[in-house]
Amino acid sequence: MLFVLKRIGVSVLLVWVVATIVFLAIRMVPGDPATILLSQGGVAPDPAAVAQLRIQLGLNQPLGMQYVADMHRLLVGDLGQSLQDQTPVAGEILRRLPRTLELIGAAAVLAVLLGLPAGLLAAIRRGGAFDRIASWLAAVALAVPIFVVGTLMVAIFAQGLHWAPAGGYVSFARHPLRHLELLAMPAATIAIGLAAILFRMTRAAVLDVSMRDYIRTARAKGVAPRRILARHVLRNALMPIVTVLALNLGSLLGGTVLVEYVFNWPGLSGLLVDAVNARDYPEVQGVVLVISVLFVALNLVVDLLYALLDPRVRHG
């Protein structure tokens, strides 16, 4: 229990650090942030607009005051207003967040369904035809960047073969089948790379655990191979797999930005790219904050999962 509380405490601390950095980032840039944000292509911005923006961002107050005000706003869930249309950032994020989560969830499920059994099979039949083919495929899958996979998918399956729509979004409530059709390609794009990572890790972990002394003990007891696999090998191999999954969460979340862009999936990341292009700092700040919190939370879940799997971690 102490472990869980402590781990949650660390996560809260990390979220605070992230919020502070995001707060400081814009203020550490040399020059006046408002001027920088309004500069487009080297043209000096309208001084009146700059003054207006300074007031909106609260930049004319002392730094300490700004910080306290900012943190207070964050605590009550206010992420400020978009510079583009003056709508609350929090509302827009809340509308788009479930779509991103849906994409990640679908991709993760696909990747686990594909990567884990394949890795297990490759490890059991190590050196066999399946192992060699799957290992080679995984190497290729890891080498092709996610936006290339997405772009090529669009080029081949949508533009070339007309099997699937090139991109877009329809809510599930409105059109369930169409929704799933639109979800398939972006989810598959993310899943391919993740499945390759999972495949490699599962294969390596299963092979590693199979060499351990306690597997020899289980064999010496006369335990059936299937049970050895299920009770001894898999349980212990899951730990390194979970670790690797955690290490790749960051690039997974980053990857969705590119995938949402390629497939016009109106999730958080699309919002982010538009905001970056428009230099809409409050919106960028809000999205980065939310995704980082998500990231920290996912890491927390992984850590707790790890403790659940390994009694040695629990007892510290």
Partner: protein
């Protein structure tokens, strides 16, 4: 004449490093006083967790004591600055237990033997090679071995290299931390013979750390028996071995297997495991496993008493120990 190395009332506590929650500090060593005379070999005997390796590191100034002090030839290690301590290291060296991790896998053994020569500028760089070869010859190896890497050698040969490295600076005091326990029996004897020979020829003072009583007896003048970071018994090696006075020494001797049927003793089986050094028993730390335990043992920690010339025992009942009682602790078996 004062002894070369004097350790007074040494204690070492390690803070408990736990990820979560606070543990009690581990009392690795508590109030140990020890001397090693010039040319003398002192054996430090104990099981795992007895603090014997910690004492070795403390005596070389590689660890700082939590309390007490170590004086080498009049110099208090704790009171010297870092530079003088580094210069002093020339005079005291360490031989390790594990011949595999004690040598840097990425450098030739010659280069590693030469390290000490270079650090203390003992011989000009042009003569280093010759000195390295002489050192290798001294430990029974050939000059050509200097250009090889550690992985090309067997465990026994690596241990010889480790000894040559320690000898390079011309030390007067050598701490040998279980130098043969990782080696096969036949090789063990080779390395022990080498150490005994070097000690005789170079007049080395030696602290010989081991868990193996017969090994200690064969190479040491004096034996110190440790349990849970405290000295239980101390005396001339043969004396402690032939006439142990402390219950723990008796049990340890009776438990160590022997080839000689004539010497096969009545085995005293100690019950259970040693207590955790983070939570030692009050009074005599051995009382929880001692077959002769009496209520008085739970009181104050027994001091070391001189029972015979140079023979010290930390047991209040040492004068009155009869044959092994059946109660309250432990069982006795007849071989």
């Amino acid at each position: 004449m004062t002894p070369l190395v004097v350790a007074e009332n040494l204690s070492k506590h390690f803070p408990a490093r736990r990820m979560f929650g606070r543990g009690r500090p581990v009392q690795a060593v508590s109030g140990v006083s020890l001397t090693v005379g010039r040319g003398e070999a002192v054996g430090l005997v104990g099981e795992s967790g007895s603090g014997k390796s910690t004492i070795g590191r403390l005596m070389l100034g590689l660890l700082e004591p939590s309390a007490g002090r170590v004086v080498i030839d009049g110099t208090d290690l704790g009171a010297t600055d870092a530079d003088s301590l580094r210069r002093l290291r020339r005079r005291m060296q360490l031989v390790f237990q594990d011949p595999y991790s004690s040598l840097d896998p990425r450098r030739t053994v010659g280069a590693q033997i030469a390290d000490g020569l270079a650090i203390h500028r003992i011989v000009p760089s042009g003569e280093r090679r010759a000195r390295v070869e002489a050192l290798l010859a001294r430990v029974g190896m050939t000059p050509a071995h200097a250009d090889r890497y550690p992985h090309e050698f067997s465990g026994g040969q690596r241990q010889r290299v480790g000894i040559a490295r320690a000898l390079a600076t011309g030390p007067e005091f050598l701490v040998a931390d279980e130098p043969v326990s990782a080696l096969d029996v036949s090789v063990q004897a080779q390395v022990l013979a080498l150490l005994a020979d070097l000690r005789r020829r170079l007049g080395l003072a030696m602290l010989f750390i081991s868990h193996d009583l017969p090994v200690v007896r064969s190479i040491c003048d004096r034996t110190v028996v440790l349990y849970l970071g405290r000295i239980m018994e101390e005396g001339p090696a043969g004396e402690v071995f032939e006439r142990p006075r402390h219950p723990y020494t008796k049990a340890l001797l009776s438990a160590s297997p022997t080839l000689d049927p004539a010497r096969r003793r009545r085995r005293i089986l100690l019950p259970g495991d040693p207590p955790s050094p983070a939570d030692p028993p009050s009074g005599c730390v051995f009382r929880t496993r001692c077959p002769w335990v009496a209520p008085v043992c739970a009181g104050a920690a027994p001091p070391l008493r001189e029972l015979a010339a140079g023979h010290f025992v930390a047991c209040v009942r040492a004068d009155a120990l009869g044959p092994v009682p059946d109660a309250p602790n432990g069982s006795v078996s007849q071989q």
